[in-house]
């Protein structure tokens, strides 16, 4: 049955596609870059092509890390020829995808709940990939360097602070003349880990928020406009005057949008940057399953809204080739891939977290057998 279906595209590709596109329908394996070839081409660290691993993987989920994930995919394809298809449909989509097994791996910025783990078909691993800061990004003509306290930020998203020239904003920003314009809040229209982390923070710092809205991937917003994905929110903020939204740092950087300086738990105003984002994980000991919330860190120099974004996979993956391809890809991403984090506005994993991630990747099995060769 399966071979039959696979025969059809071959026919189509020849008859229709190849004619039009000059054979671009086939994968073009890149030159193997295996320098100092490892003894086992299918082991770790990943040095090149491995013929026994699946040559394509399908993943879906968070848009928060999509900028770096798509970069990894591009680079990883050059190294191994493996095609990792990642569709940034939102963290909710990542969790649903892995739960229903409609994709090979998922991705989310907030850990799955106990209930969700129970609903899943078999044990799921949370693999932290990178850390990132969620910034309140705004588009107010002529205004830069806005400072926000936890109270004003939640007030804006609750709809209590309706205008930019509200006295509460003025108090924290003595040097800024705000327009008398209505504030347009932009939030996510899809199930989002970024939303979960953002609302987790607001719930921690504001009791009204906690009781009225709460924290979750999709919450009942008191008002505003919805955008799909981190990119959708950034797009909406960029095109809507007097708006404010929340996105991963890189999306604000790429668009040259303002990102508010936030007052952290220690009472200090902190910019979101690699340093302040990384500080949020200092002194935090992750539990065994690596699920943790890093928001509202008590560390004096830490940025308050920080998330560790996760890759989600089943601990045991029946398809051996896929299991190996995933283990190798995750290994590469959490090692070689970390080098791309800095340029893209993410913070690399701290060493202690990485050690735990390595152990998790090594624990992946296929039909009960370890996927990666023993050390």
């Amino acid at each position: 049955m399966r071979t039959f279906w696979r025969a059809i595209p071959a026919f189509l590709a020849v008859a229709v596609v190849a004619a039009a596109c000059g054979g671009s329908g086939t994968a073009q394996p890149s030159p193997t870059t295996a320098s100092g070839a490892a003894a086992n081409p299918c082991g770790i660290p990943v040095t090149g092509k491995c013929s026994s691993e699946a040559q394509s993987l399908s993943g879906a989920g968070a848009t928060f890390p999509a900028v770096i994930y798509t970069k990894w995919i591009d680079e990883y394809n050059k190294v191994t020829g493996v095609q990792v298809n990642y569709q940034a449909i939102g963290s909710g989509g990542g969790i649903k995808g892995i739960t229903d097994k409609t994709v090979d791996f998922g991705a989310t910025d907030n850990a799955m709940t106990d209930q969700q783990l129970t609903d899943a078909k078999s044990p799921i691993l949370h693999l932290p990939a990178v850390m990132g800061g969620i910034v309140a990004t705004y588009n107010v003509a002529g205004v830069t360097g806005i400072k926000l306290t936890a109270e004003t930020l939640s007030g804006i998203f609750l709809g209590d602070i309706k205008k930019w020239n509200d006295p509460k904003l003025a108090t924290d920003n003595p040097g800024i003349t705000f327009p008398a314009a209505d504030i347009v809040t932009v939030h996510r229209s899809d199930g989002s880990g970024t939303t979960a982390v953002f609302t987790d923070y607001l719930s921690k710092v504001n009791a009204t928020w906690k009781s009225k809205v709460g924290a979750g991937q999709t919450v009942e917003w008191p008002g505003g406009v919805g955008g799909k994905g981190n990119d959708g929110v950034a797009g909406a903020v960029k095109s809507t005057p007097n708006s404010i939204g929340y996105v991963e740092l890189i999306y604000a950087l790429q668009q040259k949008l303002g990102a508010a300086t936030l007052k952290n738990a220690a009472g200090k105003f902190v910019d979101a940057n690699l340093d302040s984002v990384g500080k949020a994980a200092v002194g935090v000991t992750l539990p065994d399953d690596l699920r943790a919330s890093l928001t509202n860190s008590s560390n004096a120099d830490a940025y308050p809204i920080v998330a560790m974004t996760y890759l989600l996979t089943y601990k045991d993956v029946a398809d051996k080739g896929k299991a190996l391809a995933m283990a190798r890809y995750f290994w590469w991403g959490t090692h070689e891939g970390q080098a791309f984090a800095k340029d893209l506005g993410y913070a690399p994993l701290p060493a202690d977290v990485l050690a735990k991630v390595e152990a998790k990747i090594r624990s992946m099995t296929s039909g009960g057998q370890a996927v990666l060769p023993a050390q």
Partner: protein, 295 residues
Amino acid sequence: MSTAASAGVLPRVPARHAVSARRRARERTMEVLVGGAAIGAATLLVIILGYVIVRGAPALNIAFFTERPLPFGVEGGGVGPAVVGTLILSVLAGVLAIPIGIASAIFVTEFRSGRLAPAVRFAAELIAGLPSIVIGVFVWAFLVRGVIGHYAALAGAIALAIIMIPIVARTVEEVLRLVPQSLREAGLALGAPHWRVVLSIVVPTARAGIATAVVLAVARAAGETAPLLLTALGNLFFSTDLLKPISALPIQIYQYAASPYDDWHTKAWGSSLVLVGVIALLSLALRLAVRGRAR
């Protein structure tokens, strides 16, 4: 469509002296108003196409068709996988839908004595009226979650096929009805069985009309987005495997339109231009073919 010929332009306004100035003014006003409405509606098309062409054309180059999308925020690359995906999805959906659509049209027109024929016809009309997102939900539940088990090109093609079947069925039905009854009777008089008459006489006579149906259906399916989001998912790479996720132009347009990147916006316009261009070429070819046949 026999009424089309009989309802001609109304006679001119009665002789001037018979009509008061007020009535004449009213007549003029209404003529201008309805004319404006018609021209306005047609102008809308010109405006939209104008935007698609002007904003889309700069995006088109070789790389646009041959390269795959680059990482978020990186300029360059192309939407090759989406172009290939749309071709595969449309062709496969057509292969699935066209025979079924034609068969059901034949069933409805040629074997109408049965009680089932009206039911088939009605069901086709109702499916045609369903929002495409609802068909997407169904295919997700039935195939993506069920039979296939994951997002796959095949699921996308089947969703498109479900949308195409009623279009093919109803258009072909209209065409078959136009085949003169005398042709059928002649066949039957020669002693041919009913099915034979249908296959060897009725269907070949209606060939051109059937081609129309096919083009209509393909044009419609190529632009569908909502059901594909729930079934084909999208793919960053070139893929021809029907059991893997696949990209398509409408999905690409949706993703790029909502993004904050100017380069992607341009590519969204470019993708729209390609999509609209293909559909326009199809319908233009169809119109020429039909006209050629009429002469």
